[in-house]
Symmetry: C2
């Protein structure tokens, strides 16, 4: 058992996770309002859009406009998600995003085939091309990721050795292409993780590849997000993705049950209350969470935005 970290980084994914799933008629103006509110909370990184086909993801039809109109605040990285060269080109054209290269793997063969129509071998070949593309644009590839690292709705339980082996392939690609990969994201894409499996998988990966800083991307579909994050903290994990108010999830079940990432303000609250620095003003984050709820027009899953922090009660009691 490692000590809890003294400080964690929480990467905000709410605007991207949320607006790609919510009704597409949310005004660009309002998306910008939320992004800016988030940028004023102390968050260091905000994923603002996905640069994907608007026919497939109508909520992202205004993605380029959103990026263009962002008023960047110093100290905040504004990132985007893309899945192919066309997306990367859009990101480069916009000339306003913080762009880093990433090598995404998927621990489920079935999910990989369904989503990207690739075998594991074809995926590695595609990543080689991706690396070349990044290199040709002078973009550093700094991140590897393993989706479905804890289980898959289509494939079931994922053996830990498979996750470790994929991390090994990321490691080997990094060596071969001399990439400085400093972050490795383990994603519980379909919410199969429990606190114990978080510990097992993180432990196994770290034992074999102690050089990677591990990031956890934890979906909260089965309500385990915050407990899984705590298990991660216990393993010394100091980088988490999270989503303000719990934005995200399935458009056909607009509530926490089909939720996106673990809720940012709940995670930040837990960390701060346990003496782990986040650099985030949790009260400001609660305002952003309320704003998110107002913008989407329905209740969002986060809890602390309803229960409140303890600071007010501490003041009251003092």
């Amino acid at each position: 058992m490692t000590e809890l970290p003294s400080r964690v980084q929480i990467n905000e994914e709410g605007p991207r996770e949320g607006f790609q799933i919510e009704s597409s008629d949310i005004a660009t103006e309002r998306k910008l309002e939320l992004i800016d509110a988030l940028a004023r909370t102390g968050l260091r990184q905000i994923q603002v859009v996905s640069l994907v086909n608007p026919k497939k993801v109508p909520g992202m039809a205004d993605a380029d406009e959103v990026v263009r109109r962002i008023e960047r605040r110093p100290g905040v990285r504004y990132t985007a998600l893309w899945f192919n060269d066309r997306g990367l080109e859009r990101a480069l054209e916009l000339d306003k995003l913080d762009i880093k290269g990433s090598l995404p793997m998927c621990a489920s063969d079935v999910f990989l085939k369904r989503n990207q129509n690739r075998t594991q071998e074809e995926n590695v070949e595609a990543l080689r091309k991706t690396i070349q593309t990044y290199k040709s644009h002078g973009i550093a590839v700094t991140r590897g990721s393993v989706m479905a690292a804890f289980g898959c709705n289509f494939e079931g339980v994922i053996p830990i050795e498979k996750v470790v082996s994929l991390v090994g392939q990321i490691h080997d690609l990094a060596e071969e292409y001399e990439l400085d990969i400093n972050e490795l994201a383990l994603a519980d894409t379909m919410a199969w993780a429990t606190p114990e499996s978080v510990k097992r998988v993180v432990g196994a990966v770290r034992e074999k590849f102690p050089g990677f800083r591990i990031n956890l991307h934890l979906h909260d579909t089965r309500g385990m997000g915050i407990a899984n994050a705590y298990a991660g903290l216990q393993m010394g994990i100091d980088s988490f993705d999270a989503s303000v108010a719990g934005l995200g999830g399935c458009p056909f079940a607009r509530h926490r049950g089909a939720a996106g990432n673990v809720c940012t303000e709940d995670l930040a609250f837990m960390c701060e209350e346990m003496g782990i620095e986040t650099g985030i003003d949790v009260e400001a984050l609660l305002s952003a969470a309320h704003l998110a709820e107002e913008i989407v027009g329905h209740q969002l899953p986060g809890s602390v935005k309803l229960g409140g922090t303890l600071s007010a009660f501490r003041r009251h009691a003092a």
Copy 2:
């Protein structure tokens, strides 16, 4: 760090927590339907009503009728909550409940004064009378509890020594009156606990009083319930209160943010997925959770009832 327990007992509090807070126009019939659905899940203990003044808690106006009409299932304890002799008398008259005596303490002086208009000294005096009453009815006093053991909205942080000292008073009363108190409930009444404070408080109490089996009663108002339960499991805690679908909480904020106890099916799901036996059929519990939601007529906080268990996906994948 203790090993996780191999088996836990989860005490269902949903009917009592929920129906005392929900609109009072829920038919008795429907309450019985939920209680019976719960009794068929493998739960061993269900708190079905609170025997309180119906003028103060309109949702409990039919409490006696609910109890009278319950069709008891073997292996299930049906319990009730009461706060005074009148409540106990009603419980005895009904002659259908599993009645055990309890010694409730409160770690917050302010909360104790506000709620029961007693000082700590007056409370102990009252408990002495309560013990006599139980003795006169031949009822075993088997449980002690400490409310607000992790913090209080009115008093702020509660020092651990205060909790330990109250447990000491329970211990002393037990010795003095020769009570066989085998369970000690630590209640996070106002949702101040974090996983780390759960560990600290449980650790301190257990160190001084290793004889008590500790039960955790964790409110989920700030979304920490499941992480706090996990921390409890890590301390070897094997008894939890929980509320189906997350029933309960503030009537003025009908959602998880002002939630009652940690959600039964989410807790049972986590335990079972980590190899901890609950004796509960989680799928049957999900049906009960859906029924609870249908009965109250609005969304309830639990997650697994929306995200589903993993069993179906495992079968599908196999």
